[in-house]
């Protein structure tokens, strides 16, 4: 009879009998996804709080994306739990000495902030849509449903006068301001879950939450940039088709100019956070080597030996150094940006991987190793949810949600509304 984790764990040398890779790929996905949530929110707040005008287009986009990601963030944990339906107990009977118990509080307060900020941001839109539909005679069924949805979303407030909108803006600014520390907390706390495990020599460091926040912002900005470029390219494609019919629309060149401007501006912030993240991670590594406590021998053999390719080639090399160079070379182009942000996303994913899986690559005996083999072809429910398919599913889901949400929260100003 196989124990949990035995399927994908290979032991080497002296490992205690109960040791396996218990925290597998979904626990890699969990900080990766919450990181994207937090990062996207911080990016949107850069405009709302600090008034960085060039990020206006990106700000709405990032906020809606953050909301879509938010729904996906708890799913990796659900898929990881042995009893997913008991997961609700974390909210119902939280045991507050545990870091995980705070998840309910942090997650819901953050969700409430994002939802209310979205509401203030899109209130005008909700009112306009519902009013235009109200006046319409002979509504079709989809229109009827749309009318109902938007009526509900207005929450019964139809005042979109100058003064009311001004108050909305104030509310957005303070919510965005409040959201930054809460977003950082949401993710810093994911770092705390790992950093506070004193039994794990690789995880236990007070730097862990800070490292997680920095890389979270990096990954969030990168994902927003990537999605933004993709959406803009699709818009350009659609527009060039439509333009042949009505030449009054914006030209593709015009859109391209806007796109490049936004990407260059956002890229600068990406670079800043990337440097901060790398510095902290290197500080952690240097500190461990310099102090060389009891666990260092086995950690060194993992970091410089067993996981060398994962850490130094894939994470630092491909995921950090190459994008750093790509963004530092002047005259950033869209194509270079796409390559850069894709590599950054990969690098952050590898960082999560190297923390979660790397932290279980050595035995508590410090005299043995464990190797993780990600289940690719699922042959039962367990290898599906904690395998490649489960992880890819989690990654794709926010994009599908984002597409659905953008029907309600249009991320780009419609033609003629600017």
């Amino acid at each position: 009879m196989l124990a949990h984790g035995e399927l994908w764990t290979v032991k080497e040398l002296f490992v205690y009998p109960n040791e396996f890779i218990y925290w597998s790929v979904q626990i890699v996905m969990y900080p990766f996804m919450t990181g994207l949530v937090a990062g996207a929110f911080v990016l949107s707040s850069l405009y709302h709080v600090f008034g960085i005008k060039q990020l206006k287009d990106m700000a709405r986009f990032a906020l809606v994306f953050s909301f879509a990601l938010l729904f996906v963030a708890p799913l990796p944990i659900m898929l990881h739990l042995q009893f997913p339906f008991r997961g609700i107990k974390v909210f119902m009977t939280p045991h507050f000495t545990s870091a995980i118990a705070a998840f309910g509080v942090v997650f819901f307060s953050y969700g409430a902030i994002v939802a209310s900020e979205l509401w203030f941001l899109y209130r005008k839109h909700f009112v306009e849509v519902s009013l235009s539909l109200r006046d319409k005679q002979d509504k079709t069924l989809p229109e009827q449903l749309r009318y109902l949805l938007f009526c509900t979303l207005t929450l019964g407030v139809y005042d979109i006068g100058e003064e009311a909108l001004h108050r909305d803006e104030k509310a957005i600014r303070s919510l965005a301001g409040l959201g930054i520390p809460v977003a950082c907390f949401l993710h810093g706390y994911a770092g705390f879950i790992f950093g506070s495990v004193k039994a794990n020599a690789l995880w236990m460091t007070p730097l862990m939450p800070v490292i997680f926040i920095m890389s979270a912002v990096v990954s969030g900005i990168a994902l927003c940039m990537l999605s933004y470029i993709i959406v803009m390219e699709i818009r350009k494609l659609l527009l060039s088709r439509k333009r042949s019919a009505s030449p009054m629309l914006r030209s593709t060149e015009e859109i391209k100019g806007v796109e490049l401007n936004v990407i260059r501006m956002t890229g600068r912030y990406l670079l800043f956070f990337l440097v901060a993240a790398i510095s902290l991670e290197l500080l952690d590594l240097i500190f461990r080597g310099y102090t060389a406590v009891k666990s260092w021998d086995v950690l060194r053999s993992v970091i410089y030996g067993k996981d060398f390719i994962d850490i130094f080639v894939l994470q630092y090399g491909v995921g950090n150094l190459i994008p750093l160079i790509l963004f530092l070379i002047p005259g950033l182009t869209i194509r270079r940006a796409v390559l850069g942000v894709a590599l950054v996303l990969f690098g952050v994913f590898m960082m999560r991987w190297n923390v979660v899986i790397g932290g279980q690559a050595f035995s508590l005996s410090f005299a043995g190793y464990m190797h993780y083999h990600l289940p690719v072809i699922p042959h039962n429910w367990e290898t599906f949810k904690e395998g490649l398919f489960g992880a890819v599913g989690i990654f794709i889901l926010p994009f599908a949600l984002f597409w659905g949400m953008s029907k309600v929260f249009p991320v780009f100003p419609e033609a003629g509304h600017e």
């Binding site: 009998p17 109960n18 495990v197 508590l364």
Partner: protein, 262 residues
């Protein structure tokens, strides 16, 4: 004259007469009395004493534990296990615990996992010994601290238990334990660990592993009872604990602990 009525009456009286002294005898069973007191945290704190000099690595304790606590016999996970340490002339240390030593150590070859074995010549061995491992029932248990729903908890007499109806199976406690004693039960899928056979010790019995050990290498006792032989040894002899540096205050004490023990 014996009537049916009298016969039944006298039989009942006689049976009651025989049963009464037996019941009275059991009532003053000191082990049961102690077990009753066990609910009082001020009087009982269960501790364990392992004499590594006496352990021969037969694995009878592991076998008994698996059967007693219904941990699937053929699964590789186990609530208790025995480790073998061999230190060779060149100062190198070798250790293994094949199947948790459920079947003892049947070969002199060291199990390196992945199907590899290392043969060590008898002449090269400087010292060798066995170390039984089980839950340390820490005074400051990290597993209890990290459980997000409070499904694992410490009893007043110091034993850490798991509520199978409440565990969500997140594995945080497994990650939090520096001793690697926790695992997911292959049948119940909840966190599982040694609980000093709590169902036995609270009835005045010994743990399954203590009872199964033919050499007296394992003993359980109450550290709050100064007259307890285990307490006497812990108080008067030189004993060690595992991985003190984690601040967990482990309550399994070892006689003859070597620096190489992990």
């Amino acid at each position: 004259m014996i009537t049916r009525r009298n016969f039944l009456k006298n039989s009942a009286l006689g049976l009651a007469g025989i049963a009464l002294p037996l019941a009275a005898f059991e009532f003053i069973d000191p082990r049961k009395l102690m077990a009753l007191e066990a609910k009082d945290g001020a009087k009982v704190r269960w501790v364990f004493l392992v004499d590594t000099y006496k352990c021969v690595g037969c694995g009878l304790c592991v076998k008994a534990c698996k059967l007693e606590n219904e941990v699937p016999y053929d699964s590789s996970v186990t609530r208790t296990w025995v480790e073998r340490y061999v230190i060779t002339r060149d100062g190198k240390f070798h250790a293994d615990t094949p199947k948790g030593a459920r079947d003892g150590f049947t070969t002199t070859k060291i199990d390196l996992n992945e199907g590899k074995f290392e043969d060590i010549k008898n002449g090269d061995i400087e010292k060798a010994y066995f170390v039984p491992k089980l839950c340390n029932q820490c005074e400051n248990p990290p597993c209890v601290q990290v459980c997000p729903v409070g499904a694992t908890y410490q009893t007043p007499d110091g034993v850490v238990l798991v509520d199978r109806t409440w565990c969500i199976g997140c594995g945080y406690c497994i990650m939090g334990c520096p001793y690697g004693v926790r695992f997911f039960h292959p049948v119940y899928h909840t966190a599982e660990k040694c609980n000093f056979c709590y169902h036995r010790i609270t009835k005045g019995m010994k743990t399954a592993c203590v009872q199964a050990c033919p050499f007296g290498a394992r003993r359980i006792g109450n550290i709050k009872d100064p007259g307890d032989p285990v307490t006497k040894i812990i108080m008067t002899e030189r004993v060690g604990v595992l991985k003190e540096e984690y601040g967990t205050k482990p309550q399994v004490f070892y006689i003859g602990l070597d620096k190489e023990v992990r």
